[in-house]
Symmetry: C2
Subunit: 385 residues, 2 copies
């Protein structure tokens, strides 16, 4: 029986009917090599943002359940178009929604987690020789409610399907795999041939857009090797798989400017409750230089940030002019050298270090947004080389 590969194509890979035709050609070529294909697609280009802005015109804080109903249309549009494009070039294909694909989630709208995958219809269609197109980013709850998996959820859809189908998993984007930094910010950034899932998770949750952190976690839990490749070139890409990492070596540097820091005088409980009520998961909690508690939140996870700002408990202020630079590598916390180098680099750029957070796998410096790019560049030169 032919091997199954799950391929995921992101929004920029399907942003026009022209690009969708190109993806169809790519899928056809792979099928001609004898593979069975399941293709997970994101929404076309900015579709999700456009739908979101419609919702925002109606409500500053739209009900999650209806938001999911709205946003899931984005992937449905691209999946139907890709299926048409494949059939147009003579490849039998069929598109399935998250629900039809058997992607069962919990009922946390807009941040749902996959609890089970029942790929019956997919296996049946594959058995009939069809290429199966699946709408990424979405699933259905046991209560038959349409749910979404949060930003970048299409990666998670692909990994979950690969696990359920015992298939290979390939995530396609505009770049040829994972780099030691964003080449647009650090021209000397190097492509990594492989990276451990743990390191990849840290990079992703610290702002690297290439792969979704939840997806990597899911892959790690289910022993799936993700292969990150380029939609446009035939490069070798990057394999995300466990390897004995070199202790204390910085594999990559990433940054994030789209964050808010909630600054708390005294106990942060009431703030954390508020964030929880809005299903906002803090990226990190730390003390700043003057001993206040700093709760870092990536803005992309916040629906209606201004609503949140308006509800802030007394004693909590928002610092919205900050950014983070994160060094990722196994065993960094044990390596005082990395911390010392990082701080001296920051000092040499006179980039104020508002706060720091470190774990076994990463060291994050919080600084003013204006300094983020320069700091990223210099830390990469000093620690990755």
């Amino acid at each position: 029986m032919a091997r199954i590969v799950v391929q995921k194509f992101g929004g920029s890979s399907v942003s026009s009917t022209e690009k969708i035709r190109k993806v169809a050609q790519r899928v056809k070529a792979r099928r001609d090599e004898g593979w069975q294909l399941v293709v997970v697609v994101s929404a076309m280009g900015d579709t999700t943002d456009e739908l979101l802005s419609l919702a925002k015109q109606i409500s500053a804080d739209p009900p999650r359940r209806e938001l999911d109903m709205l946003l899931t249309c984005g992937e449905r549009i691209s999946m139907a178009l890709l299926s048409m494009a494949l059939q147009e070039v003579g490849v039998p294909a069929i598109s399935f929604t998250g629900s039809q694909s058997g992607i069962i989630t919990d009922d946390t709208h807009s941040q749902a987690r996959i609890v089970e995958v029942k790929p019956g219809r997919i296996e049946e269609a594959l058995g009939q020789g069809k290429v199966v197109i699946v709408a990424g980013y979405q699933g259905v709850s046991r209560g038959k409610e349409v749910t979404t998996l949060g930003r970048g959820g299409s990666d998670t859809s692909a990994v979950a399907l690969a696990a359920a189908l015992h298939a290979d998993c390939e995530i396609y984007s505009d770049v040829d795999g994972i780099f030691s930094a964003d080449p647009r910010i650090v021209p000397s950034a190097k492509k990594l041939d492989s990276i451990s899932p743990e390191e990849m998770q840290e990079l992703a949750s610290a702002g690297a857009k290439v792969l979704n952190a939840q997806a990597v976690e899911f892959a790690r839990e289910h022993g799936i090797v993700i292969h990150a490749k380029s939609t446009h070139t035939a490069g070798t890409g990057t394999r995300i798989e466990a390897k004995p990492g070199e202790q204390g070596r910085v594999r990559g540097v990433t940054c994030e400017t789209d964050v808010w820091a909630f600054c708390v005088q005294g106990a942060p409980e009431s703030l954390l409750e508020l964030l929880d009520a809005h299903q906002v998961k803090p990226r990190s909690v730390s003390f700043d230089a003057s001993g206040r508690t700093l709760v870092l939140v990536p803005l992309q996870d916040v629906h209606g940030p201004e609503v949140l700002r308006a509800k802030l408990p007394a004693g909590v202020t928002v610092l919205d002019d900050l950014g983070t630079v994160t060094c990722v590598g196994t065993g960094l916390h044990a390596d005082a050298l990395v911390l010392r180098k990082a701080l001296s680099v920051a000092k040499s750029l006179s980039a104020p270090v508002t706060a720091m957070a470190s774990s076994a796998l990463q060291l994050t410096l919080v600084t003013e947004r204006a300094h983020v790019k320069a700091l990223t560049k210099s830390l990469h030169e000093a620690l990755v080389g």
Copy 2:
């Protein structure tokens, strides 16, 4: 228990978030009067056409199944936005897809017919005091495939739900009910307080856009009285209900310029087979002045007309410069006077009558497109007054 009313709002009534907010206010007002509401919405403005054009960029004749997957997004977007708008003004609301609404259809993609309605989830939500928003135009087959009901299908969704819920049925559009002709073409057109379902069906299938013919047929079969009203004014509208019609009286005149006439030398079987294969239902088959068979087809029902043109059997030509003008009234065929008047009016305008079709309820003249509007106006003056 509160009475239930099913209200359907067409694409132009929800073409912007601003208009969607207005509809929400209207729904809220009705609810404040103590009604339980089920609101069926069409896609926003030109959304369906935009999605269709995406499909056409990929395939001249897109597979129906995928086309249904694509087009159903239009109504999902407007239903989610209207539900948000209602909750924004404090009205509990929930949106359901055709599938979630229990609208079960046969599996004829793009032209599906409703075979059953299981309104369990709707009744449950109504019982919880919620306004239920339903995506019109769509359903689900027993094989769990997403289907669409064809152009104007949202009207059918509304009627079917009204029948299943033993509810009143109100269809809202930009005009205050049914007129004796399109006021844009015939300024002297009068609003009808009521019209029989049979007459309404003829008007609708002959080009009147206000109501969908299938929907009217469905309403007649299930004894549902449709109330056609204006989204913008508080007018009395038109009730579509059986009344002893005045024999031979012309109730309305309508026209259609978006038609093709297939002209057949000899037997039309092969043409009819071709049309059937493309799920195209001819509006009428008649002889033209020179004894050839003329098969009239409304273009809106044809996906990829040029594909059809390319497949035409020998001896079949397309006349694509024609239009139709139709007089509707009960017992017209028994009234030679109407026919005589109609023909003399056409003659006075020197509008060539390419073909004629008549039934118990209507008289249709096929003429050159350029003459359609003038003929409509003059026939209305002569026969309706």
